[in-house]
Symmetry: C2
Subunit: 203 residues, 2 copies
């Protein structure tokens, strides 16, 4: 039905969204066209504007329509602490989940020599300039805990050391509310080895 | 982070999609802008075009960019059998799930006198013209099995009878693969009362 028509094309287009299969795309399209054409129009127009205007922050490389993103431009934030993340989405998520009021630096990937992704591709030359400026006190390494994410964190840690800047790695372990029974063994091993003394035990 | 920016607005816009909360909207927006700007552009442009061009089929009232939808315009389909559904989405779903090769008629709702939705609002005057033409052999009533959907099916059944057209109601019962234990009691009652003899028992 209508498979070749505009409706079919539109359903197809919605299938490019993450986690959206044909059934969900169908539901979205019918709702937008049947009940919600104003919202649909706003969605389409905002998306076109974003595609046109959103680029990368000169300083931290996150997505923004400005030359400096709102965080880098925010004078009330601490520019001596930088949280290093792999993607703009990660920066957004950390900022929502934590009370962190420092700056971010977005790698747009992780070191992967076989794919031709070296330090320059991750903008580490830009980061190194900031480290060399002497204004940075701490780097928080929040890359993913994959093999490449760990290697990237290690590499940036070395860079920080070279410039006498302290680097820390976010903790990995059993998720909050997670049960040991359902935790994979490498996470469990990491959690076990990374155990810390309870504050009450510190006499 | 960016909450007031274009990125925040865009995430907000995606929250109007059915089943999409802020976290999912976030994931969609970052994927579109980071990895998939061509698909994003196609999505936005197709959506704008659809909002502008898609209206209703003159004959069956489904969504289409033509004056006659592809089904109504398809000479190979049987125009003597009409499946009555509440929404364009329902017509689409029936057409995908079944081998039905007849026509549809879309009510865009169900009878609801208290809300001022009577026969004319559902286009039943248009349907009646088709019934009166003498070319219709069967109406298949595929409205939902809600109280209002049942009342609507009953009303249209009467209309068909008046014009000596056969009307049938789609079957309701325990879903295929569904277990009795997890079936609600009204469905179960309906399934029980609507039981049919096994073909093998018909001697
Ligand atoms: Zn920035
Ligand atoms: Zn039609």
């Amino acid at each position: 039905m209508h498979k070749k028509g505009l409706l079919g094309q539109l359903i197809q287009s919605f299938c490019c969204l993450p986690g959206v299969g044909p059934k969900t795309a169908q539901r979205m399209v019918f709702q937008l066209l049947q009940r919600d054409r104003n919202s649909a129009k706003a969605l389409a127009e905002t998306l076109l504007q974003a595609i046109k205007e959103i680029g990368y922050c000169q300083q931290c490389r996150t997505l923004t329509e400005y030359s400096l993103c709102e965080i880098c431009a925010d004078k009330s934030r601490d520019d001596s602490t930088i949280c290093i993340v792999e993607s703009p989405a990660d920066a957004w998520i950390v900022d929502q989940a934590t009370a962190f009021k420092g700056h971010y630096f977005v790698l747009h990937g992780r070191l992967s020599p076989l794919d031709g992704i070296g330090p320059d591709e991750l903008g580490l030359n830009i980061l190194e300039q900031r480290l060399a400026s002497g204004n940075i006190k701490e780097l928080i390494l929040a890359t993913n805990s994959t093999v490449e994410g760990e290697a990237t964190a290690y590499f940036i840690g070395e860079l920080a050391a070279k410039h006498h800047v302290q680097a820390s790695r976010i903790a990995h372990g059993v998720p909050m509310g997670g049960e040991l029974e359902f935790t994979d063994s490498s996470t469990l091993l990491h959690a076990f080895n990374g155990r810390r003394n309870l504050d009450t035990n510190v006499a």
